[in-house]
Subunit: 246 residues, 6 copies
Amino acid sequence: MNRIDGRRADQLRPVFLERHFQMHPAGSAIIEVGNTKVICAATVEDKVPPFLKGTGTGWITAEYSMLPGSTMPRSIRDRGGKINGRNTEIQRLIGRALRSVTDLTKIGERTITIDCDVLQADGGTRTASITGAFVALVEACNTIYEEGNIFPVTDFVAAISAGISPSGEKILDLNYSEDYETLADCNVVKTGAGEFVEIQITGEKKSFSRADLNDILDLAEKGIDELFDIQKDALKELVWRVGQIS
Amino acid sequence: MNRIDGRRADQLRPVFLERHFQMHPAGSAIIEVGNTKVICAATVEDKVPPFLKGTGTGWITAEYSMLPGSTMPRSIRDRGGKINGRNTEIQRLIGRALRSVTDLTKIGERTITIDCDVLQADGGTRTASITGAFVALVEACNTIYEEGNIFPVTDFVAAISAGISPSGEKILDLNYSEDYETLADCNVVKTGAGEFVEIQITGEKKSFSRADLNDILDLAEKGIDELFDIQKDALKELVWRVGQIS
Amino acid sequence: MNRIDGRRADQLRPVFLERHFQMHPAGSAIIEVGNTKVICAATVEDKVPPFLKGTGTGWITAEYSMLPGSTMPRSIRDRGGKINGRNTEIQRLIGRALRSVTDLTKIGERTITIDCDVLQADGGTRTASITGAFVALVEACNTIYEEGNIFPVTDFVAAISAGISPSGEKILDLNYSEDYETLADCNVVKTGAGEFVEIQITGEKKSFSRADLNDILDLAEKGIDELFDIQKDALKELVWRVGQIS
Amino acid sequence: MNRIDGRRADQLRPVFLERHFQMHPAGSAIIEVGNTKVICAATVEDKVPPFLKGTGTGWITAEYSMLPGSTMPRSIRDRGGKINGRNTEIQRLIGRALRSVTDLTKIGERTITIDCDVLQADGGTRTASITGAFVALVEACNTIYEEGNIFPVTDFVAAISAGISPSGEKILDLNYSEDYETLADCNVVKTGAGEFVEIQITGEKKSFSRADLNDILDLAEKGIDELFDIQKDALKELVWRVGQIS
Amino acid sequence: MNRIDGRRADQLRPVFLERHFQMHPAGSAIIEVGNTKVICAATVEDKVPPFLKGTGTGWITAEYSMLPGSTMPRSIRDRGGKINGRNTEIQRLIGRALRSVTDLTKIGERTITIDCDVLQADGGTRTASITGAFVALVEACNTIYEEGNIFPVTDFVAAISAGISPSGEKILDLNYSEDYETLADCNVVKTGAGEFVEIQITGEKKSFSRADLNDILDLAEKGIDELFDIQKDALKELVWRVGQIS
Amino acid sequence: MNRIDGRRADQLRPVFLERHFQMHPAGSAIIEVGNTKVICAATVEDKVPPFLKGTGTGWITAEYSMLPGSTMPRSIRDRGGKINGRNTEIQRLIGRALRSVTDLTKIGERTITIDCDVLQADGGTRTASITGAFVALVEACNTIYEEGNIFPVTDFVAAISAGISPSGEKILDLNYSEDYETLADCNVVKTGAGEFVEIQITGEKKSFSRADLNDILDLAEKGIDELFDIQKDALKELVWRVGQIS
């Protein structure tokens, strides 16, 4: 099979991931996966949702949005009360992924808001958001970390997509044109310890078997392992904070 | 292990499913899965979204909502521009599940709107919605079906949840209290042909392995096979319409 | 005159009214008046509107909504900031009716929210809502009642519609097709003590005289007296709570 | 009994009503009833709601709002999606009242929008709105009227409030402080032919008898008859248009 | 050059300005500039925005809106979440103008809300709003002023428009038809001390030179000086409060 | 005087301006002015607002927004019907500036939407938006330009801020900390031909004289002339399109 950009079936697009892209937030990162580009910002505020008040425990929430010029045709802004269901679904996924590797009791009664804003979309924006947001989260946690404590982020987490091409081949890291024609679309979130925190697989065009699922997960696991290395490079001197016990 | 309601790990709650619960919509059903009760209505309108105009093809969309009194504490209504992310996510899932077994070119330029309104919630409302909505969909398609044509609904589809209990056992069809404490929560949608159309599994409290996933899918497949029989009983004389070729 | 469903001019449709339809709210009821079906839930919360804080007095508020599949054509949901004037008007009416028979100082600083959700509409949904909500209210008040006190609900209250048919005859309890063509439409709310708490009569198609008004009120009074008996049957062991002095 | 402003029980406050208060709308009026002041504008547009397209028939709709400075404390504007139930209820009442004396087939496929904006509120703003809006409506209909036709406005219509004072006396045209403490509050809309188009009576503080109702209606009828004379004075040369057959 | 209403290039329209137009707000005024009519109300509330809590300092904010009947065609109301950018822009301008002549530390932790509601629009509504709102502000400040203190309003402020006619002449106080065809539109806000607080000049149809700007400012300064006299007449016994030191 | 970043009073911050930052929109640019960074996208759509239908003339509109992480504290998104007055005001300014140098009859019945999204804010975001959006606009117009025609963009346009420092000195291109404490804040938009299209100057903290205004305009003119050179460098081979007659 030939992929449109010449990649092998199990090959990631080139990934660029850099810390501290914005000067104001406690943590930030830019991630580029091929032509997909996402800014991830992590802001720390001294407040928590009502259900956590007085518990000493914090919260992580995420917002996801696409710049109007990030897509063709132009994306309409979320203004004036219009509900964008896809955005809502994605930001809930990002929040769950990051909370799964964070000990919320270790951030105190604070809320960390993760903003993922897509500058350019070419498939895989939700998984790129998770992978990049992890770096912003570590950077933000470092600003509130006090030596001698347990670091709030307990493990790595990253995400990638995989799917089934029209010819039936399983492929990793779908770009937009591949995603548009895929028979089944799968998003996988995995921790550094090698376990899953989320698998979402949809076969709207064609149903899929248990064997298909396993092939796809094999691909995704391989891709995520490569992303962990890229996250470690981006984190630089903060890398050993992740999972730091004291 | 003892489940709170005495069920075996692989046992569904009692299911009640009945056609034509409401007199106005083209199709409707009520489904009860234990204490969870959902009304499913299928309305047919002679219009399609802009991207389908002039194509001769129709669309299926879903709306999901909980009556305020269906939960404890009371659910606040979706009024005045407030966005309920969970509702949005669920209604997108219901729409995808039903479209996966419908040949949209066979319903003409019509939109079938599936309304799933939860009367009482005790876990599993989204999967009950899919299972019940399927029956309403068949009933609605029958009102626009002309003899000699291919019936738009090409196969059965049903859904169930499964998960991992705090003690590590895999259990089928979680009620609210089980869902609240589950380590991993999985929703599975499967067709009559035995393939999957959607798997969503989240391990927010604890990550899970490939082996865990396979155990959970085994349970879910068993449960969904039982639901197909219940759907067939509810459909009565319409049962043979599903997948009818001419 | 022949009514479309064969009723006499002064005859109610069959009424079914049952307590405790939902398991979560403090009080709940389902009422069916012919094909009209409404779920009424009464939720008790330990908070009051700002103007009652510190007064020791509580509040009763109501919300009214129609399930999308309850009508033909489908009712659009109150989402995304759209204002439905009719719903607003009806829920204010329900709130006033219930407050008129409740001693708000006897429920403490609590708010009882009455949710009336129409499952199926065939005329008279607002009066059915009041009649059913009364039962849910009594049930809810009973959960916060302490023996030896005065019961907050001081009297019965029920409601019915009446109107003028195109042929000029006065008729009781209009169904949808009668309501659609009525010359004057009247909703009456009356207490067990035999006095009115609300009369709303509109003659949009044709104005009406004082004599017409009196005929209509005669019919409505007869109908409401029958509804009181049905409420008493539904309340069962709680019936003597209403108006209980100590 | 002594009323706070020295009026007799059956006495209206001083009423000032003047045509053509604004230069842009097809019809407009200002009405002052004591300290209550309302601007009424009637705009004609060449469009109708969907259900009237192609029928040759027009529509009358109303909007009601209070200027922020019209009340104490300040009224918050209807902005940003907040729903004001009272405003919605009142504007529906105004629309029904005006439609009851208009032959909508005689205005062609046009919509007349009646805007009632309260400059100052001291009780009775909804009834003043109806009484003033009638004058604006006649003025607007005159701008689209062609000689030889039947005039769209077929009769006069006006409205007033009446109620029961804490001491039990029936009183006409309640100002704000009287309205605040009234036991029962009644709004009556009557045509020039002497019949009613709307009666709304609420006894939230205390229920009322059939005899109370009749006393209140007697008062209201007397007050409305006086308002007809004031409308005729304000209409000047347009007065004979109302009910003009050819 | 002949102006449509016969004015000289440097001539204001007739101005009518009167205090205490509404009975409820602490301060109010009506201003008429030719056919433009605006009601200005100033309400005092014992609260401040979050950033001022505990500082002892107050705030002035403004809201601007047009009655639907104030324009041709009818202005649509700001309801249901629709954003009117022009209104927002104008109310921010009004707020800045009034704050520039108010010592906010002298009003204590209070918010003065200025409501400018346009009854009739014929050009210059934003500048008329500022000129009229100043009078309402002084009246409102007087209700909270205690003898012996420094009066919060430290100087006069008024505003006027000027522009360039299609023939290139500079003209003062544009009415709607002049504003519609002006090449450049300028709004100027000036204090009693003779300095500017805001200049906004736009040349959407044609750009303008520094010399044009100076000519326009000359006209505006002359017009505003005349408005100061009109404000002083309207303020009557309150005139000496402005800038009162003790 | 010493500026916080060591600049001379009449010195711009370093400016970086590059074309084609995003791959999807017809035109796009990124502009950095010191730490302020804005993405400008220009999208072309084959539709016009209602008032232009059938005229053969097009429209330019702008939207302006700040990424949540662009500021400290975090900017809240414009979701769910909240109105951000500042954003609305700025996007109207951007639209006017670009329309002033565009012959809208030369773009046909198309709308060009300019999206200015602030990645990082450090003062001067609105003027940077105009300067950068101009480059995106030229790029977008080039995609619809046919040789031999008149190019729609007729002249250069750029913008800068200037103000008065607390010590009274006039300074060019204020960064955030300078803007925060400036006595008067001026935004100037000028064309390549040397005339102004917009001047907005506000003296909220202190009023200003005509002489102050002239000093500030001198600074702004110098700064904008430098920006024209930067725009020309960024436009590269498109530079001669601007003002091209055939």
